[in-house]
């Protein structure tokens, strides 16, 4: 058997520890598959947690990143620094030293991937990032290789476990957003500062990557429309159920004749769809492709071992193609670098979908007719409607409706007019609906 491949890890936190753990625990199986061992020889860490379940005896530990990056014996660098500034710098430096890169850093790839891939291309090294999207699910591999025969139509994914956990709990317990967020933080499913997860930024990083892989376009994080789940109320969750829908936080990217949609937002989807039944912290990605039709990939989107599983799969892949001519390797963004095309990403105003609308109306004759008229004037047809009894002691009744498909700018115009009605109080809640 060939000599083992030598890996240097930047960062020995949760994911770094998980990676070392998986490599050590399954060393025999991995070597039986890869045809040679894969061992961590160097690691850079500020401090090493003494209670970890892996063995650091044969790992050279250092606090100096360059000692790992520049070490002549290290073949592959696993970048787990987090953030984008230092991570970008160290990744480019490692590439310049001819190292292959494996990373779980979605922000790094979404924001600096174009630059990093170009540098890797020039140097003839690989940058693998399976762990950057949907944790342990081999979705990059599925889209980039498994679906290589297809023109992909769209991808819709639950790609943030924290948001999915919160929405699942809101549905199961009827709780409101703030209470469930506090619970998620207690359980360790949400960070102390949960902004990246609940505002959709983490999902937008991942969707940026999926959009490029699906359509062969450069990474364009700044063009992705991003909306989190902080505005979702217990009543919206409840009304969605009554309409036989469920609210999920989705990343959606779609090819249309006008351009490419790339958007992250809460979405009503029919209750019976598999995606509607992906609960808790689990992730799932649904892909519509022209030859295959729909396919779905489900699994753990985070955690030390699931993420370690993807990182180690990448290490095996890199190991297998170390001697392959760079031009024959799977291209970073699924399409050959010279075959990327710069199709326009549509502004959110120009996407077309259906909508869930909820408004609070004065309980008097004719209000519904007024609202219906405004929708009609804006050429929006109504698919379903629920009018509730007024809450006791209140003069207001909630009106909930589903529209047919319409351009977002049209619905916004209609909403603006509806909000000016004297009989409508406050703002109209609007959530996008996808049939999938």
């Amino acid at each position: 058997m060939l000599n083992p491949v030598k890996v240097g890890i930047l960062g020995l936190g949760t994911v770094g520890g998980g990676t070392v753990h998986v490599l050590q625990k399954n060393a025999t199986e991995i070597a039986r598959r890869a045809g040679r061992g894969i061992i961590v020889t160097h690691a850079c860490a500020k401090e090493v947690n003494k209670t970890h379940p892996y063995n650091t005896d044969e790992i050279i530990l250092t606090k100096q990143l360059v000692e790992v990056i520049e070490h002549p014996e290290v073949d592959i660098i696993v970048e787990l620094l987090g953030g984008t500034t230092l991570a970008r710098e160290m990744t480019l430096q490692a590439i310049a030293h001819g190292k292959h890169i494996v990373t779980a850093n979605k922000a790094l790839i979404a924001q600096h991937g174009n630059e990093i891939f170009a540098a890797a291309q020039e140097k003839g090294v690989m940058v693998a990032f399976e762990a950057a999207v949907a944790g342990g699910i081999p979705i990059i591999k599925a889209v980039r290789e498994g679906l290589a025969a297809n023109e992909i139509d769209w991808i819709a994914g639950i790609i943030n476990g924290t948001s999915n956990f919160i929405l699942t709990e809101m549905r199961d317990k009827g709780s409101n957003f703030a209470d469930v967020l506090a619970e998620a933080q207690r359980l360790g499913y949400a960070e102390r500062d949960p902004t990246f997860d609940i505002e959709g930024i983490d999902a937008a990083h991942k969707l940026t990557i999926l959009a490029s892989l699906a359509f062969g376009i450069p990474l364009q994080f700044d063009k992705v429309y991003t909306e989190g789940i902080t505005q979702i109320t217990a009543e919206d969750v409840q009304y969605a159920e009554e309409l036989e829908y469920r609210i999920k936080h989705l990343g959606i990217t779609k090819r249309t004749s006008q351009g490419i949609e790339a958007r992250v937002h809460p979405t009503l989807i029919p209750k019976k769809r598999l995606l509607a039944n992906v609960d808790g912290v689990m992730n799932a990605v649904l892909v519509q492709a022209d030859a295959l039709g729909q396919s779905l990939y489900y699994g753990a989107g985070a955690g030390a071992l699931p993420t370690g599983s993807s990182i180690v799969a990448d290490l095996v892949d890199v190991t297998r193609t170390l001697t392959t001519d760079p031009g024959n390797r799977v291209p970073h963004l699924a399409f050959q670098p010279n075959a990327l095309v710069d199709v326009k990403i549509l502004p959110i105003d120009e996407i077309e979908t259906s909508y869930y609308l909820r408004m609070s109306a004065l309980d008097k004759l004719g209000v519904m007719a007024q609202v219906a008229n405004i929708l009609k004037e804006n050429k929006i047809s109504i698919e379903a409607i629920i009018q509730k009894e007024p809450v006791t002691g209140s003069e207001h009744v909630p009106i909930v409706m589903l529209t047919h498909r319409v351009l977002e700018k049209q619905i916004n115009q209609a909403i603006q007019t509806i909000e000016q009605l004297e009989s409508i109080t406050g703002q109209v809640t609007r959530i996008r609906v996808e049939m999938l």
Copy 2:
């Protein structure tokens, strides 16, 4: 760009036509991904359907298999002959001529894979077979590459669309097996001779392959326990629902301390599981692995274009590694050929699972106690029980129960004793139960 890779197809039926169709329709996308074109230059067909949606103008058509197999310009042979005798012979002959092989033939791989892979190994060519398991779902790639870091614990899959369609219809419409089978035949979801599908043979071929990929064991089709869905009655489907379960036809392979389980049979699984909600002709494979935990892969398990999608993905993979040193390619059975181990496949008597039992009892005092006693003597505990009112005009009541986990030979012994009771009429229906 490099010259196109040249493909010869043996068989231009549904799947062969689908393959040519996908290659032609998505030629640009495929070349953008693979870095070079992939074109069909030769095809062997008894006759070519004139209404096909693809172009045969630039394909050299022949009725002689050897003209394709031996043609010096052909790089890759797509074997779509069906059956195993001629397919085996032609595949070995093509390998001897140094051709790479792509096949959708599950029977061929399950029954002759060991021989074929050995020949390919010796000749330094690849045999790719993504389309052989679960049609368009990239499950071979997921297990062989995506999960390469994991020790796999078990795989459970809905891997025959015909059986899944029949069970779905039986549930949705309350119909019996024979009526739904007739309907499936009318709709083209079941063959005129449906034996391979409804008796579980097709699923057993696929499970044979999955077991090898998961555990690094040689292909052993003859050791797979195979039971179809022909004995499932409308009442069993109904009782399962009442117990919050659903009957699915599953292929299951599991690593235990005693050996490896490999079995295909109808199975009750909890209604809330994603796998229980995979309906109609769709396929899905659930994998439990030590690092990743559970992951699920869902999509179309058959059809011209979905199967074509997998075949073309294999063509792209083969194209990418044409110049790779054979030792660095992904091994046929996931593990390096010299690292396969011959772990025992357990006879069905020695598997352990839970059971659904249904029996018809005389409606008189003490019958239930007799049955419970027999189970107790065999150390089988009862998880749930339904006793129904007697059907009008009948002296018999159905008794339905779920047991805890027990060895199959123990439950069989108990059933034998129960069937000897005077108060029990006819045979006891026994269906395995898995919690997943």
